[in-house]
Amino acid sequence: MIAELLNNLHSDIAMGVAQAAGAIVLCAAVVLVCRRFAVHVERETAISLVRGLVQMVLVGMVLAVLLHGNLLVGVLILLAMTFAAAVTAARRAQDIKGSLLLSFYAIAAGSGVVIAGMLVTGTLTADIAVLVPVGSMIIANAMNACAQAVERFRADVTAHVGQIEAGLALGADPGVTVAPYVQSAVYASLLPRLDMLKSLGLVWIPGVMAGMMVSGASPVYAGIYQFVIVAMILAASGVAGLIVTLLMRARVFSAAAQLTLRSAEQHQPPPYRLAKSMPNPS
């Protein structure tokens, strides 16, 4: 029987490796197409593919060991995931002091509130085999929302330095001068999740539903449960996007209400602005 199990396992792994190879080949083809248009993402794609594969294999191995752990183990795993998510999101705001901590607070608050709420209401069981995968989906989306909010807020503020400083020069509170950019950042962080909710069942049938149906659950219940998960993802993303933007807002001004977030170019403005690159007619 053990021999049969090992045989099955090996055949699963062999099939997985073959599927991964196929996926990598497809990605490589896309990279080649991008290269033709002078979009060079070869190195980044290669690193991302290798990292993604290694991480998923490691996670699979860890989960296989921890699958029968208790709630505390599950919480620790989710905390570690939250930290990793914060590291990723904080890369979008390297020029802001304490961006890692800001991202961690935002992702932890967004996903923490939602996961705790789901546990309390019984929507999510404390079973580590359910808690970790569902929790990771919520954390990953909170991370994306956080990164999108940070990116949009940063881009808007650096593109509107003149207007912001005009407001400051008129005696406005710093919060007033960046209010439109806070709104657009939070909106930008929510938009993909709103689209996801709208397209649920029409454009895509997410993995949780598919998994439940494979496990024999009623398709209707699986559909409703999937909706709950995506709605919770939206809630977590909203909280994470809002918190990270509000925390960023406080960080981009000094105690004397001076705008401190500028692009490197704006710190020492030249008499002209450089284009990002030389336009290539070809």
Binding site: G167, L170, G171, A257, L259, Q268
Partner: protein, 253 residues
């Protein structure tokens, strides 16, 4: 209406005829600006180096110098849009760090090189500053301000439809709406064509004279400095080269 409101309304609106009779009307509230060893450096690069100057109440001081001399950097330190890394600024003898930055910036108004208007109507732009202090400009006050800057009836115009010269006039009116005691002008005409530039210059000159406002104007145009400024200071590489009556300082320039 209280006496204070009457005074403020008059200061906001201005009195066009006062240009012809500078001593007429209310005693203007104007202040002396003094910099004390004012310095600023960013990432090891010195932008402003140890500048000590005194601007008398009602005086117009021009700051001239080549590109990159630190003129705008110096000006931005005067209303604390940037933080000095050394020295300080005094308003009527008071260290400006003792004032809340928002109050300081209401008292020391600034007109930038580019108008940077907020999306919306001209009237909303004019009302912005006073509203930050919990005050609402009446439609009469807005109309009078626009009349004063040569844009009568522009209240409901969308700022996206203004010419460069008109936008700069709105920017000036928006700053004046706060009834500042001193005015900082950062090359307010450099982005305009000659006709618009001359119009703005004459407007600025008439307003600062009628209100007897303390004014610091950054300009690379020495002819403009001749026309506007009582005194002129020359900056080079962030350092004060000379300061004195404009005619003397710019005699050979």
């Amino acid at each position: 209406m209280s006496a204070a409101t009457v005074i403020r309304s008059t200061r906001i609106i201005g009195d066009p005829e006062a240009t012809l009779r500078p001593s007429a009307g209310l005693e203007p509230q104007t202040i002396a600006l003094e910099t004390e060893h004012l310095s600023r450096s960013v990432l090891g690069r010195i932008l402003v180096s140890d500048i000590s100057v005194h601007v008398q109440p009602g005086e117009v001081l021009a700051v001239v110098g080549p590109s990159g001399a630190g003129k705008s950097s110096f000006l931005r330190l005067l209303n604390r849009l940037d933080e000095p890394t050394g020295g300080t600024v005094r308003l009527n003898g008071q260290d400006y760090r003792e004032l809340a930055p928002r109050e300081l910036r209401r008292r020391v108004g600034m007109v930038m090189q580019v108008a940077h208007l907020f999306p919306g109507t001209v009237a909303a732009n004019l009302a912005f500053g006073p509203r930050q202090n919990g005050e609402n400009l009446s439609s009469d006050q807005i109309a009078a301000l626009l009349e004063r800057v040569g844009l009568p009836g522009y209240q409901e115009r969308d700022v996206s439809n203004l010419s460069g010269g008109e936008a700069q006039r709105v920017s000036l009116a928006r700053t004046l709406a706060n009834a500042p005691e001193a005015l900082l002008l950062d090359e307010p005409t450099s982005a305009l064509d000659d006709v618009s530039a001359r119009g703005i210059e004459e407007l600025v000159l008439s307003i600062i004279r009628e209100r007897q406002m303390t004014c610091v104007i950054v300009t690379h145009n020495t002819v403009q400095a001749h026309r506007i400024a009582d005194r002129t200071m020359i900056l080079e590489a962030g350092k004060l080269v000379t300061i004195g009556p404009t005619k003397e300082v710019l005699r050979d320039r």
